[in-house]
Amino acid sequence: MQTLLLVYLVSAFFPFLFRRKLLKFIPFFLAFVHLGSFSFFLSKVKWIADGNVLSETVAWVPQLGINFDLVLNGLSLAFALLITGTGVLVFLYAHAYMKSYKNLSVFYFYLFLFSAAMLGLVLSGNLIQLFVFWELTSYLSFLLISFFHEKETARNAAFQSLFLTGFGGLVMLGGILLLGSVIGSYSVSDWVNQSGLLKSHQFYLPGVVLIFVGVFTKSAQFPFHFWLPGAMQAPTPVSSYLHSATMVKAGIFMLALLSPVLGGTPLWTYTLSMTGAITMFLGAYFAITQTDIKAILAYTTISSLGVLVLLLGIDTALSVKAAMLFLYVHAFYKAALFMIAGFIDKKTGTRDWRNLGGLARSMPVTFVFALLASLSMAGLPPMLGFLGKELIYEAKVQSPVIAPYVLVLGVAGNALMITVALFFLYKVFLGKPKNQVEIKVKTDWAYIIGPGLLALLSLFFGLFPAVLGETIIEPALISILERDYNVELKLWHGFNTVFFLSLFTVSLGFILFYVVSRNDSVLEKWRAFNQRIFSVRFVDVFNSILKGFLDFSKRKTELVQHGYHRFYILTIFLVASIFLWYQVYVTIGWNLENIFTLRPFYVSRLVLVIILSTIFSVVSKSRMATIISMGVVGYGIALLFMYYSAIDLAITQIIVETLILVMFVLILQRLPLFARLSSRTSRIRDFFIALSFGSAMTVLALKSINVNFNHPISDYMIENSYTNAFGQNVVNVILVDFRALDTLGEVTVLVVAALGVYVLLKTRKT
């Protein structure tokens, strides 16, 4: 399987090898690769059904528990077949659909890389690896949705989908890491083995909730569902592949994968079935008032994803069986309908059903396939969809505790689906032809072969459900349930509760269809009604939260980075004073002796002079006086150095001070006079901040003198200065020998500064 993924990765770059005329062969080649791997997986069906599991491991970052564990069992096989099988058809379809666009190499590159990532995802046996592929699918979906990137709507929709699924992915990663920290592994098989420990651990609740967020965003569950209709901005092959058949099912895969580990608890059951049921109903409800046929399909997809989540939430053998079957049911009819919708779009130039009608006459073959697919969507016999719906009802009836509530929403949702399906067929294919333009499109077959095959499969498996049941559904169930389970699928179940429920639903759906199709104004009113009660659209909520956040950020940033230089400095010294005083407070118990020794009076007088000059230079209004008193401070300090045995220091200080003074005086005449710019309040405030910092430093200085952990290393220097370094002046010896590297740095600073000044003053450009 590594080889397979490698082939996918390499093939993804294939489109870049072709230019101009050869471009049209790209989809065929890629479809061929899909076909190859489809047959590979098909060849494994029997083997897997016999209870075998294929697994391979490639180490990636084993220290962190991140490996490439590739596992092919019933569950991953079911998904892999779906991905590669629809992959073949989608690439064939894309050949026709994308022909007229530019940048095709990039498109096929993205799309095929997506296939590879999706395949990697479902083959993952390590949850971190799964996350990596999960993120890759999100990013590729982003790139594909924004393929028509000059449209702002496409960019925004792409951004929304990425932001939500990316967010969900990261949160899910948090959940995986949290639960992983309990058992110290990210390998799915380890998780399955330690399921009991996980379920009883205190991290179970937060971990599961975090993972749910990931699943719900990816699989477009309420309240994160709104990115999916937006994603319809993508080219139609992308919609039918990513946003109905594969990527949005990643969340479902995750749930199926983890249900033996985390499932079966009230948290699992209630959260999933409630969310699923609500999503299912809302999806169907909103679908009916859409006018864009792709949007209708998008909302019904949301509804179907809700059904899947609901079924996995109920988490009985029956419901999981129903889920796996419905996965296929949905993939067949939805991908087909998307492709048909895209074809209609190409043919007529519109996707608004209000401008469409009577297409059955001009597109008879397409109509037949659309009919089959729609019947499957409505859940009418003899299609596979009927079987799916029956099983779902059966599972719901048996679902614990919340059955009535789920059933009501389920019946309502299904009835609406029937209405939508019939309505779609009626408005677009039957009825009076509107004055739509019909464009002649060549190679109709490429448009039809995909949906046709899928629709026919819906019919075939509806008639012979056992074929699907034994080969694919049963092994998948065994993987999920972790025990043997015999799947028998029949079209006809006999007259039981489920049948009557079904009958009721169908009648309801037909009645509703009758009402809305009789008169267009009913739907108009309905739409208006929806807009009134659901005046808050989720997309808008998302956008306004985002905008609010950005405005808040902007305001706050202006507050922090306000541009007033002084306040930056003020903040820094304020923080410093608080911090230092706190530390002084914490480490208060130091030894206070030896501080108050009295020394010769004239030194104190010198200090007094320095202090007075300092104060004078601060308060003086004359520039010259300020600078001169600053000079006095500098020279005073030099004298202090001199007194305290630092001859070299004193000399240096005097030289430096003199140079600085000279420079000050030189540039002074070119500069403006001091102006008292700041107010009295601000001066007082500044003074206190300065004082608190200054006094903190006084305390620190005193403290430092009185804390001694160790004899200073300079003792050694004094001892060795003459004998080993041949110098009498220890300070000089330190500078040129002991710490010569410092002096090298110091020289560098001077050179750079000198050169910098030269460069700065040389250029006259302003």
């Binding site: 980075q561 020394r599 150095f641 305290y644 620190l700 200073p712 300070v731 500064a753 302003t766």
Partner: protein, 114 residues
């Protein structure tokens, strides 16, 4: 004596910070100079100070305890020289800035934020 020097350090720091918080760039530079002086003094006295015993040695066995600690002196010397380089560049920059913009007021420096 250390306490008086410690107070001097405090005064220099206070004056320096206060000057930094003025709007004039010139005062700002003076503030920096005060702060450097204060810091140099702080480093200088940090391991204790001895008057009149500079660290000069000859062949006769020196006893470190009677001499002033030469290491802080060397450090301060390095720091003074480095500080000098930086102040000179700052002065040149300030000069250039005034020449370019004609203002000395730091509050006018708001082009580069927001």
């Amino acid at each position: 004596m250390e306490i008086i020097l410690a107070i001097l350090i405090g005064v220099l720091y206070t004056a320096g910070v206060y000057m930094l918080l003025r709007r004039s760039i010139l005062k700002f530079i003076i503030g920096i100079i005060f702060l450097s002086n204060a810091t140099n003094l702080l480093v200088f006295i940090s391991s204790g100070i001895i008057a009149g015993k500079p660290a000069f040695v000859d062949g006769t066995t020196p006893s470190p305890n009677n001499l002033a600690d030469p290491l802080p002196q060397a450090l301060v010397l390095t720091a003074i020289v480095i500080g000098f380089g930086i102040v000179v560049f700052t002065l040149a920059l300030k000069f250039k800035f005034f020449e370019t913009t004609g203002t000395d007021d730091l509050d006018q420096l708001q082009q580069t934020d927001n």
